[in-house]
């Protein structure tokens, strides 16, 4: 049974408990995130094989690698979305990015790669929110800088391959107002100060800008926020692909939605992409060797994987042949499980590397090839994205073919 929406998180009695919210992710005792515990704590559901098979059946397309490998592993009301879809009722997708830096790494691309797949297989429109206002407040950027980063990040998002005839990208600074703002006020009236403190952990030292931000991220879940896209379609459902740390925003949104006459948005949630130095490490903008960036050259990718990717292999070849690699902590294997589409090949690597017949160097070499191809493809696409194209994606315009 789903945890009551919007309910305050249990207090952190011990410092060792894992913490997952939009601004902080830390595991218990500096270890790995316990996703089973997180699902239980948040009250969402696991995506099981039957759900993946159902998506395959409904769309007639092979499930995305992120679904097959359990990267997107949790959901809220995904079955209701699929039930409606089966009846012929459409839905729209909503995802977003907080543009805090210019350089995106592979982890940033994951929700967009998956959302692009969802748009394609379900043939539905997408709204992408760039929360430049949030980053202006949380990262203390100037308004101009956060707007500039929003446009730069929009180029990388566009390069992921979204269909311009079905996609609306907007930045909060440019778009908030009108019907969108009316919904923000409706949501704001339904959430007390105490509740928002309980959900997001605000303190007396936090400025009122932060406290008033959550409705901004909530209301793109409601079709009436986009009168140019969905006029008169207040019944249209919304599916939100996102990383699981965003769940608090949408628990709040789902609690409010029925009270203001809207469907609760559904969610499909992903786990966290590990840093190069391992699950216990942190991806950090100040440490370029903690992640693979979309601007990295082939040489840089090779260097980073060879030097910094944490290996689960043994200390010596002899010991490795005897014991095999620890795949639970091996980063090259984990990265391949994200990005190597061929299931048979991954299974073979799992067997051979896990048993010690395959060495770390071979696995890393394959990973370098896979990532280089991916990054090069992204960079080629990104190079073709012009400012005019960004303007077109961000223009407030109808999308007449959004469901075709």
């Amino acid at each position: 049974m789903e945890k009551r929406e919007g309910e305050a998180e249990p207090e952190q009695k011990e410092e060792e408990e894992q913490v997952v919210n939009p601004w902080m992710v830390s595991a218990k005792g500096g270890g790995k995130i316990d996703y089973d515990k997180l699902i239980d704590q948040f009250g969402c559901q696991r995506i099981d094989q039957s759900l993946v098979d159902r998506i395959h059946r409904l769309t007639g397309r092979p499930p995305h690698v992120f679904l097959r490998r359990g990267v997107f592993f949790a959901h809220r009301d995904l079955n209701e979305i699929l039930d409606a879809y089966e009846r012929g009722d459409k839905f729209y997708l909503y995802t977003g990015r907080g543009p805090s830096s210019e350089a995106l790494h592979l982890g940033h691309l994951i929700p967009f790669m998956f959302t692009k797949y969802l748009q394609e297989v379900f043939k539905v429109p997408l709204v992408v929110q760039l929360t430049d206002d949030e980053k202006c407040m949380w990262k203390n950027l100037t308004v101009e800088e956060s707007q500039r980063l929003a446009r730069e990040n929009a180029k990388d998002i566009i390069a992921c391959g979204f269909d311009i005839s079905k996609t609306f990208i907007f930045s909060d600074f440019d778009f908030v107002g009108g019907a969108f703002y009316k919904n923000m006020v409706k949501v704001g009236k339904c959430v007390t100060y105490n509740k928002v403190v309980g959900i997001f952990g605000f303190t007396g030292e936090d400025h009122i800008g932060k406290v008033s931000f959550p409705p901004v991220q909530a209301v793109p879940s409601f079709p009436s926020s986009f009168p140019h896209l969905f006029p008169g379609q207040d019944n249209l459902r919304c599916l939100i692909p996102c990383a699981i740390d965003q769940d608090p925003y949408f628990r709040m949104t789902r609690d409010v939605a029925p009270r203001i006459g809207y469907h609760k948005p559904a969610l499909i949630e992903s786990s966290f992409f590990p840093a190069l130095q391992g699950e216990t490490g942190k991806m950090s903008a100040s440490d370029p060797n903690s992640a693979i960036y979309v601007t990295d050259s082939a040489k840089e990718i090779k260097n980073k994987i060879n030097r910094y990717a944490f290996s689960g292999g043994q200390d010596s070849v002899e010991k490795h042949r005897e014991l095999g690699a620890n795949l639970e902590v091996d980063i090259p294997f984990k990265y391949l499980s994200f990005f190597l589409d061929d299931d048979d090949k991954l299974e073979e690597i799992q067997k051979e590397y896990g048993s010690g017949r395959m060495l770390t160097g071979e696995v890393k070499q394959l990973l370098v090839e896979v990532l280089t191809e991916m990054v090069e493809r992204h960079r080629r696409a990104r190079a073709a994205v012009t400012d005019e194209m960004v303007d077109a994606f961000m223009a407030v315009r109808p999308l007449p073919n959004m469901f075709i």
Partner: protein, 275 residues
């Protein structure tokens, strides 16, 4: 008690030199910042020599004194160019583009950002040079000139203001006055990529090249021996799985580019239309 004529002249010269120095310093700082953002290092960009006026812009010395006016409500920019000392010419951005293209240039408009961003670019591991794609490929580095840069007299610098953004136009000419050495790992030139995407024949060639290359790599003595009669099916499956993503991404960019061109044309034709 006043100053003598000699003292006045000395003070005036000192004032002019100081202002010129401040102007030059400001200009040098601006050039350094732009050079870093273009991934040319700190000294890869410099003011064009006088000769470039004739070679690149094909106008005589002394006739170009750009002065731009920015009207926020209009889509145009006006450049006052001295045709002669008795006449001036106003150019819209559209006409300026036409002129630059007629001399073999390929103008790009760049938003240099706020004054602070312009003066202090944040370029580093986390923030790669954001203007690098505008540097022509195949450029080579010239050594620093032995003498320091003097006045900007005779150099051409066109400041373009469109709407409320500050931009600088760069002429991508076959004889660039500034250049930078590109390493093997440099990013694909974005202008050439854009041209490839919009030029259908080039795009088709590119896709056929990829397919051919993959086909040839899949058909080897080893694979022929291994798969025999099933080789065709194997190669076909391999091509489909390995090229699908590439083709989809390329064709989606083509769709986006075509849509954008139509959208931009519509915006120009109906500038005040709202939905």
């Amino acid at each position: 008690m006043g100053l003598s004529e000699e003292q006045l002249l000395a003070r005036l010269k000192e004032f002019q030199t100081k202002n010129q120095l401040e102007h030059d310093n400001g200009q040098r700082r601006g050039m350094k910042s732009l050079s870093v953002r273009l991934r040319l290092g700190k000294g890869g960009l410099r003011m064009a020599p006088q000769e470039a006026l004739g070679e690149v812009l094909r106008v005589p010395l002394g006739c170009v004194t750009p002065f731009s006016l920015n009207f926020h409500c209009y889509q145009y920019m006006f450049n006052k160019i001295l045709v002669s000392y008795s006449k001036k010419l106003s150019l819209s951005t559209h006409d300026l583009d036409k002129f630059l293209k007629s001399i073999g240039g390929d103008p790009s408009y760049v938003d240099l950002g706020s004054n602070e961003t312009y003066a202090n670019p944040s370029v580093g591991k986390d923030q790669p040079p954001d203007l690098a794609c505008f540097v022509p490929s195949g450029s080579t580095v010239l050594p620093d000139p032995p003498q320091p840069a003097t006045s900007s007299k005779g150099h051409v610098e066109i400041q373009v203001s469109v709407d409320n953004k500050s931009t600088a136009s760069t002429v991508n000419s076959s004889k660039p006055s500034t250049s930078a050495k590109r390493t093997k790992d440099e990013q694909v030139n974005c202008v050439n990529v854009t041209k490839t995407v919009t030029h259908v024949q080039s795009l088709v060639e590119d896709l056929l090249d990829k397919t051919s290359s993959l086909l040839l790599s899949e058909i080897t003595e080893e694979t022929i021996a291994k798969h025999e009669g099933q080789l065709g099916t194997k190669v076909s499956d391999s091509i489909r799985s390995r090229l699908r993503e590439d083709f989809e991404r390329t064709l989606m960019i083509l769709k986006s580019t075509a849509y954008t061109e139509g959208f931009s044309a519509g915006k120009r034709h109906y500038p005040h239309r709202t939905y």
